[in-house]
Subunit: 305 residues, 2 copies
């Protein structure tokens, strides 16, 4: 089953302790789409400006991402400039130029209106709701957000959350949204807002999945070289939803496997700047790292009582 | 097989966002011993002052901990005073009074000299080496330390590390000791110092076990109520070594199970002040939480290729 992704496509300037890159391919929907494209067909809805390089369009096409919904309008592409220190867990934003993204009104092409798997990347929650209103009967909706929307549009955000199957945010955002310092209490408060499952991203510490009835803890893959964490969360979400859409298995087992595939994708993405690592990645490498996650986490049970 | 534990017994004054306690039972060897006592017999070598309450001695005896090696000398017991903020990950030390612990020279009673399982809790590495010299032929040696010894006695510490089977430290200490910001590189550097296995404690994020050939990632148990993190690391190490000593199984599988049992013990310990939770804990509860860890981390593999 194909996936519909709505979010940002950007040109990023990124500085890490290991180097810097100017105006490279970025944006939440870009990472989502590219990551998901290893598992299923992807339809992308986003906007770019006249300066968006043709090579990036070609790359997205090479991943079989359908660009019918990618509008190119007058003006400049969304540009983000950020820097990471040695701990690499948090970016310092140096500049944000919304440019053409400022007036982005997502219009879902008629042929995508039946989308069963929908990813609402980090955009204004009012726009996320407009997207939801244009998609007839999605089977699975995943939703991301950021601290800015949590503080500026909490009511609009809560309406979106209540319609999501998977709400994917980081640890700090979970605490901010719930007002709870304890993560288990934070998760319970967010689930009470109506979302079916909460996925809490913890950077190098992995992710936690909270459902009404269970918790699943997945580590991150311990890497010797982390070059650029930009897009790790979006890459995680793309792998997660891509795998779910591919299998259609929404059981607890299926969702847990999808979380590991998401973690695998994120672990590759941070190994190079921008989407460079995903550009050379093979499905064989993905499966090999999935097996490494399995070896890394396995321990024997106690047997029956 | 019994365990020999050498370290501190203390009276702690602790303040957390949830309350405070004055001069309650504490000390690394106390947490180690009590935790290990759920799995095997424990012999304790430490020192207390004349003010050490009889009820604490009675409690340790009630856990079947052999106190032949616990000297009571003139002066006051080691006293630590600390405070935790809402994040609970790091204590702020307000006061440290070494008292009788300042002149502690561990003397291993003759009947312990054949100990096969030895825990060197966080004390001066020169004293750790003196203990090692008094124990004839230990089968498994676990060793802890702290930032103070890493900066003040790095050479003495390295000599101890080279003789340890398991070196158990926290993330910040691993980075400090190795001079590497990246944890995988830090682990490799520490393994190169001669220790067989490195266990890195990451507080609420769990632990990582690095051996020459593999990595094992174990999460912490997500708790809704964390009252007092004091002694969590020592309680982890006690459960870990206690289980190893109980089974004698030093295979990769056995060591991984021991790490989960250690994590289980730590998860209980932080639920109440001091050792209060361990005082009411049953082995049935320990096994039940072990099973919860298994459920929380399990995911399906990909099958054979």
């Amino acid at each position: 089953m194909s996936i519909l992704v709505v979010g940002s496509v950007a040109l990023d300037s990124v500085e890490t302790p290991f180097g810097q890159r100017d105006r490279v391919l970025g944006g939440s929907a870009t990472y989502f789409s590219t990551s998901a494209s290893f598992f299923t067909d992807v339809n992308l809805v986003a906007v770019v400006g006249e300066d968006f390089p043709e090579e990036h369009t070609q790359f997205l096409k090479s991943r079989n991402i359908d660009l019918t919904g990618l509008s190119r309008v007058a003006g400049e592409t969304f540009h983000w400039k950020g820097r990471y220190g040695f701990d690499l867990n948090e970016a310092q934003t140096l500049e944000t130029h919304l440019n053409v993204f400022e007036s982005f009104k997502p219009v879902i092409p008629a042929q995508y209106a039946d989308a069963e798997y929908l990813i609402l990347a980090n955009i204004d929650p009012e726009l996320q709701m407009e997207v939801l209103n244009q998609v007839k009967n999605p089977k699975v909706v995943a939703c991301d957000t950021m601290n800015f929307w949590i503080s500026s549009k909490p009511d609009a955000l809560r309406k979106v959350i209540a319609k999501a199957d998977f709400f994917i945010i980081n640890e700090g955002e979970a605490r901010q949204l719930s007002g709870e310092a304890n993560l288990v209490k934070a998760a319970r408060a967010i689930l009470a807002m109506g979302v079916k499952n909460l996925i809490v991203k913890r950077g190098e510490y992995g992710v936690l999945l909270f459902s009404g009835h269970s918790v699943f803890a997945a580590p991150a893959y311990p890497l010797e070289e982390v070059f650029d964490p930009t897009g790790a969360g979006d890459t995680f979400a793309g792998g997660f939803m891509g795998y779910l859409a591919n299998t259609g298995d929404l059981s607890e087992d299926g969702v847990r496997q999808a979380i590991i595939f998401g973690s695998v994708m994120a672990s590759f993405n941070v190994e190079a700047f921008s989407l460079d690592r995903l550009k050379t990645l093979s499905y064989q490498e993905i499966e090999a790292r999935y097996r490494a996650f399995k070896r890394m986490t396995h321990f024997e049970g106690l047997g029956e009582v």
